[in-house]
């Protein structure tokens, strides 16, 4: 569905206001996301996970320097094509709940998303109704403004908006932050359900343990680089089948596992 080859990204910054420098944020990333699967991208904050999502969606600020290439359904994904496809074939569930329009009821926002994707008014109405029911948003939630929604409900509204676009690639950026276990389960189930319709889901998260509940493949990112892409099943036991020390360290640091810093990784990174 999506193939990324040697993707690099540098963004400008201004150490003095008349001087421009570039900082590398993504460094030669390569991996591919298969249709009908959940591909998790995990890593620490600042690893470049969200920038990767914004790069694929074509939402970068002006002056960004891009290298490498992306292919969507085996066709190069350049900036004009990103513009044409986003909101239709490509959908993003953003990290921030402030992406919702604070002055619109949730059912209207979902309806707008469907209309933007090119659905006719009548079929949009029907799709929206189905999507809202699918994500268990009741009458009160449908008529609520964003500030009246709980965190979990707002996430489900954003997921419903991505759902009605009929996109074949959905990128979810940290969809479970700040949710309690029941709500988190519901959001993750909703994402897993998308793959059963043959869609691809890219799940961006720092929360390795919960991402593993639904992921088929996992890409581990560290400081803008792709450290390792492995099957989700490699994250078990002591993680001995994982190739990189960083991925193993990430796995071992979980409270349900060793809860220690992997010694090999500690040596490599001079961890205090």
């Amino acid at each position: 569905m999506l193939r990324i080859e040697q993707l690099s990204l540098a963004l400008p910054y201004y150490p003095r206001f008349w001087r421009r420098r570039y900082a590398t944020h993504l460094d030669q990333l390569s991996f591919s996301v298969a249709a009908g699967s959940v591909h998790a991208v995990v890593g620490a904050s600042g690893a470049g996970k969200s920038l990767l999502a914004h790069t694929i969606m074509g939402l970068l600020p002006k002056g960004a320097q891009l290298g490498g290439s992306c292919f969507f359904k085996e066709t190069p994904l350049d900036e004009p094509r990103k513009r044409a496809l986003r909101g239709r074939e490509l959908a993003l569930i953003p990290q921030s709940l402030s992406a919702l329009d604070p002055l619109a009821r949730s059912q209207h926002q979902v309806n707008w998303a469907a209309r933007r994707a090119g659905l006719a008014p009548a079929s949009a109405r029907q799709t929206v109704c189905q999507a809202l029911a699918h994500y268990q948003l009741d009458e009160r939630a449908r008529r609520a403004y964003p500030h009246e929604l709980s965190g979990g409900m707002a996430r489900r509204v954003l997921t419903a908006m991505a759902h009605v676009t009929q996109a074949s690639l959905v990128i979810a950026d940290e969809p479970t932050v700040g949710l309690d276990p029941a709500q988190r389960g519901r959001v993750l189930d909703a994402l897993a359900a998308l793959t059963r319709q043959g869609k691809a889901v890219m799940l961006i998260s720092h929360d390795l343990r919960h991402a593993l509940n639904i992921a088929d493949r996992v890409t581990v990112m560290h400081e803008g680089r792709c450290v390792e892409t492995a099957d989700a099943s490699a994250f078990q036991g002591t993680g001995q089948t994982l190739k990189s020390a960083y991925a193993r360290a990430l796995w071992q640091a979980l409270p349900d596992n060793a809860f220690t810093i992997d010694t090999e990784y500690a040596r490599e990174s001079h961890f205090a």
Partner: protein, 210 residues
């Protein structure tokens, strides 16, 4: 000993968030608190730190009330560090707000010296969280309320934060209340654990640290 006796708290006109909640934390002890969203975990934490007044009940340290003036002996560490600092300040000013942490301690918390002269907003959430935790460890502080402080951290950063805090808390006999959704994390950190549900505090099963 930090002691809360028969606390009640209500946001009128709603029914009370909790009633008759009693809790003690000995010096040097780690206590865990879990509960669903909206159960009142954070409110209980804020009451213990003296940010809010309970509707009924009392909070004592070694049997005495604590003053809400100056440095408080109970420090509350909130989930979102961005909201606990002045975004216009430099990192070093935030860090040294209550005391000047020695360099060794800065290193133990993974705080890099090149951050110090940068504005606060240029740090990521995880970096800022470590600044906020170290800031709260001023001499005179005896109890910490850690309210979901590692939820937004990746596993390695989370572990490094807890290891640094554990070492310092042991050295200074700090009592810590860890509030989290993550049962596995609480099992790792705390000998005694409670679950807040239906306005009551229930003891979670006892589990020895491995």
């Amino acid at each position: 000993m930090l002691e809360a006796c028969q606390l009640c708290y209500a946001f009128p006109p709603q029914p009370p968030l909790f009633e008759d909640v009693s809790l003690r934390i000995e010096a040097g002890e780690w206590v865990g608190l879990s509960g669903n969203s909206g159960a009142g975990k954070s409110t209980l934490g804020r009451l213990l730190a003296g940010y809010d007044e309970p509707t009924a009940g009392r909070i004592r340290i070694e049997g005495e009330r604590f003053s809400t003036k100056g440095l408080r002996p109970v420090q509350w560490l909130p989930q979102s560090p961005e909201l606990a600092v002045n975004p216009r300040w430099q990192v070093v000013r935030v860090l040294n707000e209550a005391w000047e942490p020695p360099e060794a301690l800065r290193r133990a918390f993974g705080i890099k010296s090149q951050w110090l002269n940068r504005p606060v907003r240029t740090l990521s959430g995880g970096e800022l969280q470590r600044i906020c935790v170290l800031r709260a460890l001023a001499p005179g502080v005896r109890y910490l309320i850690a309210d979901e402080i590692s939820t937004m951290l990746d596993p390695i950063t989370q572990l490094a934060l807890w290891q640094a805090l554990k070492a310092e808390a042991e050295k200074r006999k700090l009592g810590v209340l860890v509030i989290s959704h993550d049962a596995a994390l609480l099992k790792r950190l705390c000998q005694r654990r409670y679950h807040l549900e239906n306005a009551r505090l229930h003891a979670a099963e006892h589990h020895q640290l491995p």
